[in-house]
């Protein structure tokens, strides 16, 4: 197949000159279930440079969420090593180097939006004044000014997810890990949030790891797209996506955008053909 040349194992992800923020070396992760072992990840290698926006795309079961969780020290690799800013994942977690945004907003229903955003700050021992200041900035950052006193159920799904992003950013972590944060939202809301997220990334300069299964979303947001395939979960392609950082939704109509989207699509198809 002509796609074979594209399904190279990715030895390098980030191409920026500075040293990698995240370095995944030959990581395998196996879940031992009642039905036998599940190879969620097999020999995954990846480097992410500071300030990159890296998307992970692939069919369900390709291990993209597992990889993100392993970086966050929510799962432990069976083999291999993950370094985050030169530390082990556990050290990085204990030093609170990353903010995690889950598929669901996971706001605590008994806390107002402001107090949800303040939750990590309370845990990390920020002073009351500092907490209030950061919550105010956080609400502003995700366009939720005036909603701080509301309870989560009083907000739409998109607003809840924005609140959860503000919560993840409240303690100013270097790295933002996002697991299909907009998966449950409709296209229009998603477009809007994608634009907001891009602006946020531009302003804050965070390194973002972003799991999705939407091709346009991945191409629109990312500096690099990591294409994964299942059974065993592995990386089949890493695609560079060098649009300017302040990209607009209109770039989705351009030939360059469509060419990259096509390459991602081919990569995904190639991954699927391994199953047959």
């Amino acid at each position: 197949m002509d796609t074979a040349s594209m399904t190279r194992p990715a030895a390098e992800g980030g191409s920026a000159p500075n040293e990698p923020v995240i370095e995944v070396s030959d990581v395998s992760l196996r879940f031992d279930t009642r039905d036998g072992p599940v190879h969620a990840l097999a020999h995954v290698n990846l480097k992410v440079a500071r300030g990159e926006f890296v998307s992970f795309i692939g069919p369900s079961g390709c291990g993209k969420t597992t990889l993100l969780r392993a970086v966050a020290d929510l799962e432990t690799p069976t083999e291999g090593d993950i370094r985050v800013e030169g530390m082990s994942t556990e050290e990085a977690r204990l030093k609170r180097r990353y903010g995690y945004v889950f598929q669901a907003p996971a706001l605590y229903p008994w806390r107002t939006v402001a107090r949800n955003i303040a939750l990590p700050l309370e845990i990390m021992g920020f002073s009351k004044a500092e907490r209030e200041e950061r919550v105010r900035k956080g609400l502003e950052l995700v366009n939720l000014e005036g909603f701080g006193a509301k309870f989560p159920w009083q907000l739409s799904g998109g607003m809840q997810q924005r609140a959860s992003i503000a919560r993840a950013l409240s303690f100013d972590p270097d790295i933002l890990l996002m697991d299909e944060p907009f998966g449950a939202l409709d296209e229009i809301v998603r477009d809007m949030l994608n634009q907001q997220l891009l602006r946020l990334w531009e302003v804050t300069g965070k390194t973002v790891l972003f799991v999705t299964h939407s091709i346009p979303e991945a191409v629109f947001l990312s500096t690099h797209i990591v294409v994964m395939s299942p059974r065993p979960g592995r990386i089949t392609d890493v695609i560079t996506c060098d649009f300017p950082r302040d990209r607009q939704l209109e770039i989705r109509e351009t030939p360059e955008f469509l060419a990259i989207a096509n390459r991602v699509r081919h990569g995904l198809r190639a991954g699927h053909s391994y199953d047959a």
């Binding site: 966050a72 609170r96 995690y100 889950f102 996971a106 008994w110 107002t112 990390m124």
Partner: protein
């Protein structure tokens, strides 16, 4: 206002069933009574009225119980040993002390069980076993044993009340402390929150609705425990003692009055807890 009609309907239906049952149950007694008195010329109406106003009926009519409650709550001074207020306060005191001890014990055990993984499997069977012993068999023994250490009066009854109330509270709170979903727990891990922070900021608030449900069951169980304990040592008074005295002397009206007093006490306790629960839920944003 819409909710008043169904409530009134149910109450009226219950009263009607009660009256019919009272007449049916008292018929043999009343027939004998009339026979002994040599009366034969009574109408059906006379018979029904008489059977609902016997001094020691099998089942007293609702109005007899109401009259007895009026007399023993309002008319008789609360200092008298024939006052239901006097006995009710004794029971209430034992119940509250027992309930507070039981709640503290129950919540404490739940915290321990949730925090220390292996304790769940090693401790829970004992807790279950403790509740399979019939309290009516255990209560006299607890009273006797505590008496041995000169612990008398309210304390042994409060102990039995606590014994009955801690278990539902433990079960409810274990469930409550485990209510957070995996995502909410993962979130705490990403903040590298300590176990106690996870407990105070996630598990405890997440258990709020379980807490109030457990407290309601625990309070009602404590009252049952207190009454059972009073029956075993009736000279100290209390609604249980009143029940026992009533059954000694065949004072069915007195028994029913004490029974309703106990039910009202229980309902009041549950009501207060429910009210506190609603306030808490409103403050936690659960009321829409």
């Amino acid at each position: 206002m819409k909710s008043v009609l169904p409530i009134v309907t149910v109450v009226l239906a219950a009263l009607a069933i009660w009256y019919v049952a009272a007449v049916l149950l008292n018929t043999p007694l009343q027939r004998d009574a009339f026979a002994n008195a040599g009366r034969t010329d009574y109408s059906t109406q006379d018979f029904i009225v008489a059977s609902l106003n016997m001094e020691r009926p099998k089942l007293p009519g609702p109005h007899q119980v109401a009259a007895e409650m009026w007399k023993s709550i309002v008319v008789i001074a609360p200092t008298s040993k024939r006052s239901l207020v006097y006995h009710g306060l004794i029971t209430l005191e034992e119940t509250l002390i027992g309930f507070i001890i039981g709640a503290a014990l129950g919540i404490g055990l739940a915290v321990v069980i949730v925090s220390v993984g292996w304790l769940d499997r090693s401790l829970t069977p004992w807790l279950v076993a403790s509740q399979t012993v019939p309290i009516i068999a255990l209560a006299p023994m607890i009273v006797v044993i505590l008496n041995q250490f000169d612990i008398t009066g309210i304390a042994p009854k409060a102990a039995i009340a606590a014994y009955l109330s801690f278990f539902p509270i433990t079960v409810g709170m274990v469930k409550g402390f485990r209510a957070p979903d995996p995502l909410q727990l993962d979130l705490m891990r990403t903040y590298s929150a300590s176990a106690s922070q996870t407990f105070m900021k996630l598990r405890a608030p997440a258990s709020a609705s379980y807490f109030f449900a457990s407290m309601k069951i625990g309070a009602a169980a404590a009252l049952v425990g207190a009454i059972v304990a009073e029956v075993t040592k009736s000279e100290d008074g209390g609604l249980g003692a009143r029940l026992l005295a009533g059954s000694y002397y065949g004072q069915t009206v007195q028994i029913w009055a004490a029974l309703f007093a106990a039910a009202a006490l229980s309902a009041a306790l549950v009501g207060v807890i429910g009210f506190a629960g609603r306030i808490a839920e409103r403050r936690m944003g659960f009321v829409r």
